[in-house]
Symmetry: C2
């Protein structure tokens, strides 16, 4: 039975996509539904999202963010107000056309994102420089009509947060845009143990209606890139479209400046694809709903279960701990703990108890250590810290080992065809070269990183003078 549980996962080396699908099902993160592209996020998956929410929300609030809630519907006329924005989103929305038994005079879409609603709201409440800034965020779900969907990575409905801020000056808006990108990147690195490349999107890849889009990009185990969070500076474009003006200190009527920024349940997909292995999920301790599971060995022997419960009470002071006292075999429980990615397994049986010890087993490396019950709480806390750090470092080493440099198109093509990963290459800044690289080499620009390097003087595509170093890759 224990073996069956494990055997049914595809090896990631054989079929990465199937391995991913197997994990989301077998670790009970999601269930499929009869609604195309919509999934149930099961408790094991949702508890990860709750930990993400809690920690992100805390970090947001430290920077002055306040939460609010706006309607889920957008009347068509409101969506149409900003030209670039509607062109970007209108093709992929769901329309409500009937309500309360009647056909609506104007159809409403289910929000794909809420810039237009926030603009409408801000136009009501922003009148004077005294009303600025507003630094608001909402946690909600949004709907985008995707053709191809995959749990967490791309689904018709997904959960996210969307921050929308409005400021007196362009400088303040730019500062907030970058601040939130750094909040995102720090969170991913410190909590999810996923290293991020921080940078700016090219004009081609920026958000519909934005002046500039910033992004954090992560490398998955299969060498593909995952855009993990974005932060947009709108300048005063939306303010002009929605007539959001305020009276400044000199009593002049001027337009406000806006930003928006979002992260989604896609992060759970990133955790799976960066840390998972062929036995299942591997969760970074800081985001794991259960950080250690105690598995009693020969649990029917007298005193074993009591010892396991006593151990849980002791360890609960330093970590999120559970006892698996079900009637399954220890072997099945081990396989299940591995599948679910619980960072540490604590084994305690008659021999251990006789020696006043228990065995700690790391999920990430499978390393075992016998630890005295007298100091097991501090040892567990230390081990969780070590696992968190090691997971980040392994992910960073993997990214570094799969980041390549190309100085001409041939090199770039050779890498793109044979070495999955990031390609760093210089770019002249022309859309034509970006398009050519996509068509002929099969990679897209991921970002122009904040940390620039001069790899060559000329554009990797056209050979003209280079302006910027760009990360390229195949993306989810």
């Amino acid at each position: 039975m224990a073996e069956n549980f494990v055997e049914s996962i595809t090896n990631m080396e054989d079929d990465f996509a199937q391995w991913y699908t197997d994990i989301v099902k077998k670790a009970e993160l999601v269930d499929y539904t009869g609604i195309k592209g919509c999934m149930v996020i099961r408790p094991a998956g949702y508890a990860i999202w709750e930990n993400i929410q809690k920690e992100l929300d805390r970090r947001f609030k430290e920077t002055g963010v306040e939460n609010c809630y706006l309607p889920m519907f957008i009347p068509e006329s409101l969506l149409n107000k900003e030209k670039d924005h509607v062109e970007g989103f209108a093709p992929e929305v769901a329309w409500v056309t009937q309500g309360g038994g009647e056909t609506l005079p104007e159809r409403m879409c289910v929000r794909p994102t809420s810039e237009t609603l926030f603009c409408d709201f801000y136009s009501h409440i922003v009148h004077s420089y005294r009303d600025l800034p507003k630094v608001y965020n909402q946690w909600c779900s949004v709907v985008r009509w995707e053709k191809t969907t995959r749990p967490f990575l791309r689904s018709m409905e997904f959960l996210w947060q969307e921050g929308h801020t409005i400021h007196a000056t362009a400088e303040e808006a730019q500062e907030r845009t970058e601040l939130m990108l750094n909040v995102y990147a720090d969170f991913c690195e410190q909590v999810l143990a996923i290293p991020m490349v921080r940078g700016r999107k090219t004009d081609k890849e920026k958000f519909a209606g934005a002046e500039a889009t910033y992004t954090i990009e992560a490398l998955m185990h299969d060498g593909k890139a995952l855009q993990s969070g974005t932060s947009h500076n709108f300048g005063d474009g939306f303010a002009k479209a929605f007539g959001i003006q305020y009276t400044d200190k000199e009593n002049k009527l001027v337009y406000a400046h806006q930003t928006s920024w979002g992260m989604t349940t896609r992060l759970i997909g990133a955790i799976i694809m960066v840390h998972g292995d062929n036995s299942g999920l591997v969760l970074p301790p800081l985001v794991a709903p259960t950080q250690a599971v105690i598995i009693p060995i020969q649990q029917k022997k007298e005193g074993i279960l009591d010892a396991a419960y006593a151990l849980r009470d002791k360890l609960s002071k330093v970590a999120r701990v559970k006892v698996d006292d079900s009637d399954k075999t220890p072997g099945f429980k081990f396989a299940e703990q591995e599948m679910r990615g619980i960072p540490v397994r604590v084994e305690i049986g008659p021999k251990d108890l006789a020696n006043n010890q228990a065995v700690l087993v790391r999920r990430d490396t499978r390393e075992k250590s016998s630890v005295s019950l007298d100091e097991i709480d501090t040892k567990l806390a230390e081990l969780l810290t070590t696992i968190q750090k090691d997971m980040y470092e392994r992910a960073l080493a993997h990214r570094e080992a799969h980041t390549y440099v190309a100085t001409n198109a041939e090199e770039m093509k050779e890498i793109a065809d044979n070495k999955p990963g990031f390609i760093k290459a210089m770019w002249c800044g022309d859309r034509a070269c970006e398009d050519a690289i996509k068509e002929q080499i099969g990679v897209t620009s991921r970002c122009m990183p904040f940390k620039q390097e001069t790899l060559a003087d000329t554009c990797v595509c056209c050979g003209k003078k280079a302006k910027t170093m760009v990360y390229w890759g195949k993306a989810y």
Copy 2:
């Protein structure tokens, strides 16, 4: 300016509905939108909801509840599976008929509640007695096409939690139904300071598809009742409609038993209408986003602002505290604190500072006390506890003073016409009497309370033998 801020609220004695509307606008709890029946919940309102969520969620989890997330769309064929349920909800749903630029082969409604989705989900994951119980909940928004809407009380879209559980036996389902009703009532009484009548709905008033609905009912300041939370026992009705069977310990295939229970942002309406006064909102300390606001007097004088910040740091250890250091006048700040319902105002000026003291002013009674800065932290903590307790007791006294007994139809009519409040009266159990009381006397059955009394031997309406004491009233 301070006066203007306050004067623009209607007195509740003059026009209770307008008073309510004034408060939700002036306390910045909501903003209206261009979407019929949909509102923006502004940060001051949403922060109350966040505190409700946090505390309710903690109480849920203590009883073993796990959170999850299900799609917001329900295909029409799924909604149609349980006959009573679809009859109850189909007339008031919003239909999505187009997506991604195409007309859908089957229309989908935006969830008005998620019984059908949970049933579909449970039919996938419940196979054996080992899979039971599942005690799941989700926090989300739902849509019901209401004709008349009012912020928080009745809106087209609202935020709520919906718990959906599935059990092996009818007894377990009944136990969970009552358990959650008591969790709700305890929460409302202990945290929101609102006394609740706990009881069962009559068959006429029960939820579409339920075997039994339990409710908690509160009395508002104007003598109207507000249904504040409901908990439903479905028996095996939904399980039969959706084919949810499991193999029991005797290896027989049997139907499972289900419950659902929900509370909504309507609770914010209850807080307003139970505790508010003619100066604005009055928030119970346990749910107040800011529990005390420090208002410096003559704040431009040297040392005053520094003293206010030092006081905030000291008080932040015992409460959620802010300093209002804006350039408004103290009078304006006082009025604003009252409007927003912040439980305690802390005034500190040059004279106070010279005497090593500050003034604490209660929002609920306006009582003032001078307190030494040396012990102000413990005094504030005590005061918040006292306010919380007093607010509950005042609300209870109000309810008791507005709960009447009627033993015949004339008495009942006399009370209903002249004395807003609850009417306790005996009922024979016949639907005909319930209908007649509604039509002729203008009150509906609120609940059959758990705490039964024998007020008379005969039904208040028909004079036949009485079965049950019922709370009647006019309801929101």
